[in-house]
Symmetry: C2
Subunit: 570 residues, 2 copies
């Protein structure tokens, strides 16, 4: 493509709305423009890069035996009512009515649709396994859309759904997807590690998230410093710290006027956080649940929710609910004589001696409390693992980083097939629900993540395989006929062999062209200037030093780069 | 692809919901499945064909110098309020609110978006011309979605928007699109003729629709029997029939109790429809307008609307409005003493003598009425041309056929750029509005039209270039190792040179495989059976006789077909 025919929208200034590198650079390079909060238009340069990512995904999905499909984005409410998710999905779902007042939504995900397709189209075990995927626009009305296409409300997702006749089949389908995902993210040249993820709440039997490290990520990811272990903090089991054994002392009720927080209590009692057990009160689908963890620990709500058998809405109790459960204002809850439906006690608390809890009386705490003697509850792991704790796999220390999920693979099992009566006839003539898996990749988020991991002070640094253009041919002076002739010849030759080449034939200073080329991140650059009198041009990789090469060597030099990156030109 | 891994969803029965060939065949071949009224899912076979059509469009658009773009489907109300269309677009627009109660719609078209992009990104005439296109999902809440993807509520459209500095530039951009469209529909092998279309109401200066003849089409298209003239009936000018001259007679008021319709009047007065002039009363954006045409003619509402300077809402008057205008019940309106804001008189009526009209009094008509002597109005062409009338271009007879619009090219001029203040700086430093064009192709409708024009009693008959698969290799007996070996070898060889080949390795009878292959419309078929002992297989084009050819000749035979169709394998 000739730049004189392109809509170039590079910006020299960093737009005020952008906080992270990828967002800034996608705006500055003219890849995207905001249409509304969390809703973006893809400009030609952005779309070209997006399509490269899509093509990689498509190739690897096809190679893994999946078949491409395309479902509608507008979905009828009835399907979601069948699965029970119409009422569960909250404000995140865009809802609308048609002219006949029928309810629809914009699909935030498509489990229901593909389960419906399977129950209508697949009758026999002979047709299994089937894995259907689509690259399609999804809608989630995020409370806080941010970071450009990294967290947007209209976005492109690759979602796949596998249908198997048994668990062994699902395991195979799942592993194929895991392998495909590793290849996809490798080809995109992003460091996206599969980490163990929670699957309890959605009712599956196995799950992994592909996470890229990112300071602005929405998840905390636990990585072992020694072994391969990696897990979402939601999932990573904690190891209780062992307290030193003490003789059990008598309970003491102490007046603690207006002293509510752990910080205030530590000061008041002149001790450490580890001597306290916090009692947090939740409303879990209408039931009142108290959760106890050590004073310095954080409750892990996913673990709590799973322990309760899968809670849909888990919220901190209201002041009224706290008052009803404790007879006290917020800040004085404790396990003794608390009126709740369930009391969950973190296993670390069971092992503590003579600790301090709220007295369930405004202005009082109780000292020397001990599990078993003074109260009992359901003991389990209800807290977040912390930096430096033991790796659940090898026992070495773990580190915790922020991460962004770019992919997710998930063994759904029969959750949807049972709810929606999606069955097939097995080898013995028996009706059975499909064993399902689902597999997502945030396509637009992957694109942003590539930029997040590949940029410098001058702009984007595209990996060759996803670069919207491979090479930029820049005549220094377009009014110099000889330069234009050489540049055009190189451009045409590269184009003819299938290289994505752009010719910057704009009437602009060379400096402007170089800056645009770097901002857009084009991996290779050929500058056609005065050296053509010696039969030479300048060749430059985006982040390397400039080389002077013979005009006739340009094509081979380009091919060399493709070879180096193990890519074929097509 | 191996059929054993494919989700095959062929149906032997014709689904009751389908009325036209393409809809029946898309369902029967397993290309689409209905999700809700007018909303479809594309099954793997359907999506593969759809992508071939998209690729043809993309190639020709790129070749014509247009650049691909991707706008969001969810659009903020503000943009539409700027152009004034938020209030104009009626129930056809899907509207929704986000969690913050802000108004959005699902884009039925994207003029506003691209005008907005242009005003933000294009500053100078130096950047012009620009033509941006997208292949994107559109939403129109049709009152009566029908015929599968031919008239659906969620559909894929290619829409392009050109921006030029002057009218000459627009003409060039428009003609490039016209040429590209002709190539696109040729490559899709559908007979889609460009016909003149009305452009007055939307405010442009030129427009053509690409129409395919179809009994279930929504438009009447006028074709000349002798020359190239073709126009939408909305646009085609009529030629007034010349009445035989008569002496003007005196007016006679005649009692016509309960006689209202032209049919009843013809009987009552024992004369022909041509002796009557109908007076129809409309509400045109709040004004009351009467339109007179000869008794046997149909009012052309587009012509009426244009004559009134572009009406947004033109509706038949209510009973109350008729009463106010005529002092009579419906059925007795006439031009004499009628109380309307405007009286439009078709030019044919001006040339009639001694005709009969309503008396504006319930139960009465007036005979011997003559234009000029008894009433006056704005004379013009307000009726539909009819079969057998004169061609406006050459004077030969015209035919009228039903047609479906698959494409539309349109000179918008400055309608949107002026409304939305989208300007650039011209050569003289002056601010000017962009001169715009817009160009649409119904992608999913084009796919259906291909099937509509290419099928027989056994199924679809794909043109090679848009066939989801080019060739089907069918081993007669998959348990015969020799047959499977030959079939697999042919399959692999064709695949390796880039042919879209499918191997029907399902454990089914050959007859079932043949039937599926024909229903799916795969253009070539190789049957691998007992003749392999003689080194032979059967080769069959979808609608030709079977040939017996040598195994080693299969690849060349396939290449021959590509050559015959002027296609390269890729």
């Amino acid at each position: 493509m000739k730049m004189s025919n392109m809509l170039i929208s590079t910006l020299r200034e960093v737009p005020a709305e952008a906080e992270i590198d990828s967002h800034k650079l996608m705006l500055r390079a003219g890849m995207i423009r905001k249409m509304a909060s969390g809703i973006y238009n893809y400009m030609p340069l952005g779309l070209k890069a997006l399509k490269k990512v899509e093509d990689i995904i498509r190739e690897e999905m096809n190679d893994a035996g999946a078949q491409e499909f395309l479902a509608s984005a507008v979905l009828p409410a009835e399907l979601w009512q069948e699965s029970g998710r119409w009422d569960v999905y909250g404000e995140e779902m865009f809802r609308l009515k048609d002219r006949n007042n029928r309810d629809f939504c914009l699909g935030p995900t498509h489990e229901e649709v593909f389960t419906d397709i399977a129950r209508n189209e697949i009758k026999s075990y002979k047709q299994l396994p089937v894995n259907l995927y689509q690259i399609q626009t999804k809608y989630r009305d995020e409370r806080r859309p941010r970071f450009g296409v990294m967290r947007s409300r209209e976005f492109i997702m690759k979602d796949a759904y596998s249908f198997d006749k048994d668990q062994a089949g699902l395991d195979l389908s799942y592993n194929k997807m895991r392998e495909a995902y590793i290849k996809i993210f490798n080809r995109c040249d992003i460091d996206a590690k599969p980490v163990e993820a929670d699957s309890g709440a959605i009712g599956g039997s196995g799950s992994a998230e592909f996470m890229v490290k990112s300071e602005v990520g929405e998840d905390d990811v636990v990585f072992c410093s020694a072994c391969d272990y990696a897990a979402n903090i939601e999932k990573a089991p904690s190891t209780p710290e062992v307290s030193e054994k003490e003789d059990l002392k008598d309970l003491v009720k102490t007046e603690t006027p207006n002293i509510r927080t752990i910080e205030e209590l530590v000061k008041f009692f002149n001790t450490t956080e580890k001597k306290f057990a916090k009692t947090l009160i939740y409303n879990a689908d209408g039931k009142v649940v108290a959760v106890m963890v050590r004073g310095d620990r954080e409750v892990n709500e996913i673990k709590v929710s799973n322990a309760l058998g899968g809670v849909v809405n888990l919220n901190m109790a209201t002041t009224e609910e706290v008052l009803a459960a404790t007879n006290a204002q917020v800040g004085f809850a404790g396990p003794i004589n608390i009126k709740v439906d369930t009391l969950l006690v973190d296993e670390e608390v069971r092992n503590m001696y003579n600790f301090i809890v709220g007295a369930n009386e405004t202005g009082y705490h109780i000292e020397n409390v001990n599990y078993g003697r003074d109260f009992e509850g359901i003991v389990g792991d209800y807290r977040n693992i912390t930096e430096g704790e033991k790796c659940p796999s090898c026992g070495a220390k773990v580190n915790i980083s922020r991460g962004t999920e770019v992919g997710h693979i998930f063994k759904l099992g029969t959750k949807y097939s049972e709810a929606m009566k999606a069955t097939f006839i097995d080898e013995n003539g028996k009706e059975k629900p499909f064993i399902m898996g689902c597999y997502g990749i945030g396509v637009t988020r992957t694109l942003a993540s590539i930029i997040e991991q590949h940029n410098d002070e001058n702009g984007i640094v595209w990996p060759l395989e996803v670069a919207p253009y491979h090479i930029n041919v820049i005549p220094v002076n377009i009014k110099d006929e000889a330069q234009m002739e050489v540049a055009s010849k190189i451009y045409e030759e590269l184009k003819s062999i299938g290289v994505d080449v752009v010719l910057d034939d704009r009437n602009e200073r060379a400096g402007v062209k170089f800056k645009d080329s770097e901002l857009m991140g084009i991996p290779m650059r050929v500058t056609v200037g005065k050296k053509i009198s010696d039969g030479e041009v300048e060749f430059k990789l985006r982040t390397a030093e400039m080389e002077t090469i013979k005009i006739e060597d340009v094509v081979n030099r380009v091919k060399e780069e493709f070879n180096k990156n193990k890519l074929t030109i097509r």
